[in-house]
């Protein structure tokens, strides 16, 4: 007890890291389920259905499968780099999430903010630093496998990441000019207030062009369809991870999904007000939204349990129903509602972005390589540069008018 009061930063940080890691890992697993379900419904299929009710235990089954598969290392590979590559990819992807603030810094335990692990003054720069070295995981995997298709995948990946990183960084500078800081908390706090008393002052409104550039470049940075050329299965077998099996393959998979989450979090923070609510404070009913949402979900699950479920699935779904209703009732308590308000809005926005990601995957075909390069250098880069120049001009206009 004495140790805890003497080292609050250390203890609270460790607990936060453990909890966040658990949440992110579970989130990653269920993101695969979410993606498979959404893409399936876009294509008029059911998606995973048999492992657990609505396939809800499918991620668990997949994880077990990855753990028990044979882990093969190609004899001609560069052993050290072959093993280093997936660790590098996953470690960097998970480090980036430590910088994200999930809720307001005012909610504290032992004097430490609960909803963020680190509050760096150069948060955004540091995040870009981490994502910019993330490419080594993919490039080294491609090279160390010592095989044709992975090498092509690794080459494509480095070329693509260099090309789109420029636009990604430039598209964000507009927001930085308006916010005047690199600290995530300050960027979010700068977005409080409302136009006409009800339209939130989020940066997406003055920076719509910047946002469109950002989201395009972000999809390219995370190697997702329509920019998934490093692993284009119709051309390169499986691209850079062709030679990987078992849990090393799973690590690349997890890194890709973790990157998706990071990029969505960053979009939420920079353009959509982070943990700020879209509704003015005077609309007090918004405090009960998470509870009401959970109760509605519980009601649907109860209906499903009674009408559609059979056998073991019925039992599982009863548990899900009880969890939803219990969670709903707890979040309806005003004190709890006030605490989870920030994280609730943050997660809602992030999930909306993740849905957008999956939606693009379900609807768009893959780019050809020359189209990818042309698009990146000849359209995205000039547009984000123009956005930057126009934004800075508008920013100094009042100053110019005042001083001639």
């Amino acid at each position: 007890m004495e140790f805890i009061t003497q080292h609050p930063v250390l203890v609270v940080s460790l607990v936060k890291i453990a909890v966040l890691l658990f949440i992110v890992m579970t989130g990653l697993a269920y993101l695969t389920w979410f993606e498979r379900k959404v893409v399936a419904h876009i294509q008029s299929r059911w998606g995973p259905y048999y492992v657990g009710a609505h396939g809800l235990l499918q991620p668990l089954a997949d994880g077990v499968k990855f753990l028990f598969k044979e882990d093969m290392t190609p004899p001609t590979s560069d052993k050290l780099l072959y093993i280093l590559a997936p660790f590098l990819a996953l470690a960097l992807a998970l480090t980036a999430i430590a910088l994200i603030p999930f809720g307001p810094p005012t909610i504290r335990v032992l004097g430490q903010p609960v909803f963020m692990i680190s509050n760096l003054d150069i948060g955004l720069l540091f995040l870009f630093a981490i994502t910019s070295i993330g490419v080594y995981g993919v490039a080294l995997a491609g090279w160390s496998s010592n095989s044709k298709y992975p090498l092509l995948g690794g080459l494509r990946s480095s070329a693509q990441m260099i090309s789109y990183e420029v636009s990604l960084t430039l598209s964000v500078v507009g927001v930085l000019l308006i916010a005047g800081t690199l600290n995530f908390n300050d960027i979010i706090s700068g977005q409080t207030g409302y136009y006409l008393h009800f339209i939130p002052r989020w940066h997406v409104i003055p920076q719509l062009v910047g946002f469109l550039c950002y989201i395009t470049a972000a999809i390219a940075e995370t190697n997702r369809i329509p920019f998934d050329l490093p692993e284009a299965e119709t051309e390169l077998v499986a691209g850079f991870h062709t030679e990987y099996s078992s849990f090393k393959f799973a690590m690349f998979f997890m890194a890709e999904y973790a990157n998706m989450i990071t990029v969505s979090c960053l979009a939420t923070i920079l353009f959509f007000g982070g943990w700020l609510s879209p509704f003015p404070d005077s609309w007090t009913w918004q405090l009960y939204l998470p509870g009401a949402g959970l109760l509605l979900l519980g009601a649907y699950c109860a209906y499903d349990t009674v009408v559609n479920m059979r056998g073991l699935a019925k039992l599982q779904f009863m548990v899900v129903t009880m969890l939803c209703v219990g969670g709903g009732v707890i979040t309806l308590i005003p004190a709890v509602a006030a605490v989870i308000r920030g994280p609730f809005w943050f997660t809602t926005k992030v999930i909306a972005f993740l849905f957008f990601y999956v939606w693009t995957r379900g609807t768009l075909p893959r780019f050809r390589y020359d189209q990818l390069m042309n698009f990146g250098w000849k359209l995205l880069l000039p547009v984000s540069l123009a956005n930057l120049v126009i934004t800075s001009f508008v920013m100094i206009l009042p100053y110019l008018l005042r001083h001639g």
Binding site: D78, L81, L120, D121, I122, L125, F126, F128, A129, S132, I133, V135, Y136, A139, L140, G142, W143, L151, G154, L155, S158, A159, M161, I162, E165, L182
Partner: protein, 170 residues
Amino acid sequence: MTVPFLLFFICAFLAVLGAVLLIVAWEPIHSALALILVMMSLAVLYLLLGAEFIAAVQIIVYAGAIMVLFVFVIMLLNAGIEERTNWSQFAKVVGLPMGFFLLLATAHFLSRSAVGASIANGTGAVSNAGVSTRALSIALFRQYLFPFEATSILILIALLGALILARKDN
């Protein structure tokens, strides 16, 4: 023995290790990775000095952009294992002693400076007053505006020069 003090020696060791590996490695890609190790350790050293912005830029520009390009070119050319020559006799006879002398001289002068004293005291060369990004940019764009712009124009010229040299004749 504070944490920054330990970190300084770990990173300094890693930087030197990376530099040695860079020369010794047989595969070009291993050399490139060793260089990345040097750059990352340098970034941590900058962080220890309180220069957050420089540290982040060091990683973004050197480790994240330039070295990716290096690795890309090595992969593209599929450069194999280096051919080794017998080491230069001149370097063996003169270079090694000269290098050792330089190391000793640096150590001697460092041990007499304020930085060396703070390291010896166990406080490390850590300045608590970190240079904020705002202060850095004010210095860069007010005080040192001309050198900054001159450097960027110089880089632009080099870029255009490379482009013209690489262009095929029509």
